[in-house]
Symmetry: C2
Subunit: 215 residues, 2 copies
DNA sequence: GTCTATAGCAGGATAGAC
DNA sequence: GTCTATCCTGCTATAGAC
């Protein structure tokens, strides 16, 4: 064994370090050399444990990203179960809290959404995991939860657009922390995250807080 | 001169090709070789015209991205001037149309937002251009347009969160075309873009189209 | 302003010792 | 399972001919 390895195996440290670096810098900007150095192991370790760099990247999604997505989902369901009744407000609040405050640390959340965004703008094989095993089921579940409360005239596409819009806000406020911080003039501290969740719930339920005569 | 150059100068072709490739694949995934080959010129051309690869990337933003942002802004102002009166509805409709239908071709729009997203997740020097010369002024302008119509109790942060939320939807529906298409089950054709703009306006003004007794 | 040729280095991947 | 040593490809950047 070598330098700064905790109790974890080399394989696990590689996955952990690779996730961080891939999220921060992107697949092409990260070399196998940087990963193995940061993981405190040998250059050949990636090829021994994963075959090649691409498979390491895919396993980051299969073994770590998916697990995070499941933790978020479980948190959403707990939040919802903790509500007195099911309503659009409780669904959206549960969702926003799971995604913005949720079970992940701030770092984990940032990496999670950075990886997701990278797959959306430039899909690889990992995109299938993100889309089919996470996004689609989530949106479908949300659709079924919300449908009973929406106007009968709202068709399936419109329902999906509503869900995608809520999702787009949550996604944006998670991955665009830097511009958001610079624009609002302060960091993502806990009180702000509370206000943010409240804003997303309010905006999703009622849109702009306009005066009565202003529409 | 060489192979497939139109009437444009080598310098212009380099900027054009580089923009496309950087948007599609990201800075690190694109080599100077690929750029010069695609532009039909010699490997040394990038260094001759721009000094190095990084400066070429920055000039894509300075000379092409900024110009696009200005065209979008001009379109927004035209749209707004064409409305009978200023109201939250007319402001949001003008904005959504400028950004989703707007003056850019579908390709241009995709590249424009891909470049923007890449700068948001991993900022370089170009981020300053995007933030200070485009995002900040736009959000400030929108704030001034909308403020008179919002409840007096809404503070500055809340106003910004509302504007950022509208922006997040427009951004998402522009750069996440692939997952959105796969989820709604069809492509971004013109009728869909019309429905999309309408949805964004409706959602931004009123939130979810819920039954009266459902909140 | 555009080309060829090449320096100089970093990349992914593998073979084989331990 | 982890190491060293090495192959070979591809990268950015430059020098210098035209």
């Amino acid at each position: 064994m070598s330098s700064d390895n905790g109790s974890k195996t080399t394989r696990d440290r590689l996955l952990e370090v690779a996730e961080t670096l891939f999220a921060q810098k992107g697949y092409d900007a990260v070399s196998v050399r940087k990963i193995t150095t940061a993981a405190g192991c040998n250059l050949a370790a990636v090829n021994y444990h994963f075959g090649n760099k691409k498979t390491l990247y895919l396993n980051v999604f299969r073994e770590r990203w998916m697990h995070r997505a499941q933790r978020i989902r479980a948190c959403f369901e707990e939040n919802l179960a903790g509500c007195d009744n099911t309503s659009p407000a409780s669904v959206i609040q549960s969702l926003a809290e799971a995604l913005i405050k949720g079970p992940l640390t701030d770092e984990e959340r940032l990496f999670h959404f950075q990886l997701m965004i990278r797959e959306i703008i430039k899909p690889t094989e990992a995109f299938e995991i993100v889309l089919e095993e996470t996004m689609k089921p989530s949106f479908e579940g949300l659709g079924q939860l919300l449908q009973p409360y929406l106007h009968e005239s709202i068709d399936e596409e419109r329902t999906l657009l509503n869900i995608l819009s809520i999702f787009s806000m949550v996604l944006y406020f998670n991955f665009a922390r830097l511009p958001v911080s610079k624009i609002i003039g302060h960091a993502y501290d806990q009180p702000f995250k509370d206000r943010l969740v409240q804003h997303i719930v309010d905006f999703s339920l009622s849109g702009l807080p306009a005066k009565e005569n202003a529409r």
